[in-house]
């Protein structure tokens, strides 16, 4: 049985709390947040505190709080030599005050308040200062997910940048596609199956082998026609830059 104190009341804290409730081998003995409010509708009020000096003893303290607050809150903890982890993709492990044993318990997924989360396939990136602590964190993660990775702070940074490309920038491509459809009164939903297929392909083949389209085919007639169809300067510009990037990546010239 691993006992946990969970700090924070945001998206990650709420989803972790809900997930741990169903686990027999983990017990969230207490929650902390500034307002002292339950973070789950069935949580008993006496398991929540808004006072750091009231924190109970536990095997593990999870700081599921804003990146910027990790340093300050970890400094304010009224104990030492216990295991304290954060859940951030971009904050280094040593942002946690070194009076405690430090670690990272980062679930690599985007969470939002409304959407239910199934942790089974969400990768957990684990980091710790000792093997013993790493074992605790892995055993905890393995109760929620099948996918557990040893990732140090530098690697986590790299993952975070790569995630900006595959998540944030990809979503921007969807957003531009949506705009182009709207501006021309074509339903964007026609493209939904293509979007799902584009994402599914990545699991089976390397993205370099999945690249198709006028850029890699060097189909200049189509490229020119497309640039002509786009009326918005920013869309035109991104079309040109990414076409050029694809062509130079695969050895073609505009």
């Amino acid at each position: 049985m691993i006992t946990v104190v969970l700090l924070g009341a945001g998206n990650v804290a709420q989803h972790l709390y809900t997930a741990f409730r169903n686990q027999e081998l983990t017990k969230v003995v207490q929650c902390y947040n500034r307002k002292g409010i339950p973070i789950h509708k069935n949580q008993k009020k006496d398991t929540v505190t808004s006072d750091l000096s009231n924190l109970k003893e536990a095997d593990l303290y999870i700081l599921a709080i804003s990146d910027d607050a990790i340093e300050e809150v970890s400094r304010a903890l009224p104990f030492q030599n216990r295991l304290v982890v954060h859940t951030s993709g971009s904050v280094p492990m040593d942002a946690i005050n070194d009076k405690n044993f430090r670690g990272v318990f980062y679930p690599l997924q985007t969470f939002s308040a409304t959407k239910e989360v199934n942790f089974t396939n969400i990768p957990f990136c684990i980091e710790a200062e000792s093997e013993k602590d790493e074992t605790i964190l892995k055993s905890l993660a393995s109760q929620l997910s099948k996918k557990i990775y040893d990732i140090n702070s530098d690697q986590r940074n790299v993952l975070h940048v790569a995630a900006v490309f595959v998540n944030n920038f990809t979503n921007h491509m969807f957003s531009l596609g949506n705009d182009i459809c709207k501006e021309n009164e074509v339903p964007f939903e026609i493209l939904h199956p293509l979007i799902q297929e584009t994402a599914k392909k990545i699991i089976e083949i390397e993205p370099d082998n999945a690249q198709t389209g006028p850029a890699i085919r060097n189909d200049i007639k189509t490229i020119d026609r497309h640039i002509d169809i786009l009326k918005n300067e920013s869309q035109k510009n991104i079309y040109k830059i990414l076409t050029k990037a694809i062509q130079s990546k695969y050895g073609k010239e505009l």
Copy 2:
């Protein structure tokens, strides 16, 4: 019963042939391709021709051939006043010679030779010169798919540009994410679930509402750190341009 002659031996012709084989209401009475070869392992040899002057009579002739060949092959057809369609996303309907009734039967998906195709969710974009022909094409499409759209040649062009954004450019984002991981010896597969989630979200919420990340949050500290981590100039450049595009789209300034 709709009778069909299928012209071409490429990805689209093969997948359409395989799909029509299982339909009771459609019969592919003949295939044409330049080499006169069967396009399915169970196709009888006498249903294939390499000679346009041998083409049988049918309700519908589908030109599943390269975009550039549509004009020429449609001109070479030795009959008139029959229904002739192409399967292209970017060629206008009137590229088909006007001695016949013209139409478009465009399945909006990427096909490759090796991967099996389930047409059920693939959108078919239909265009025709008369309502009667449109009805034939829709009835044919509805045997394969639940998703059928009336799309004229201008709209099809727009869809094609939008598809470049959501498919080709998105895949390039995956490719850059993969490179960044490889260069830093982090397994790209950690990002697979995030990629699936990014695509799935689009079905439930508008891409503009799904936009997250340092750009839209205007998190300059993280943006600067990311640009620092990227070693490759082209990656840096795309990171900056797309960050700026997201910021100006949502009213933030770099």
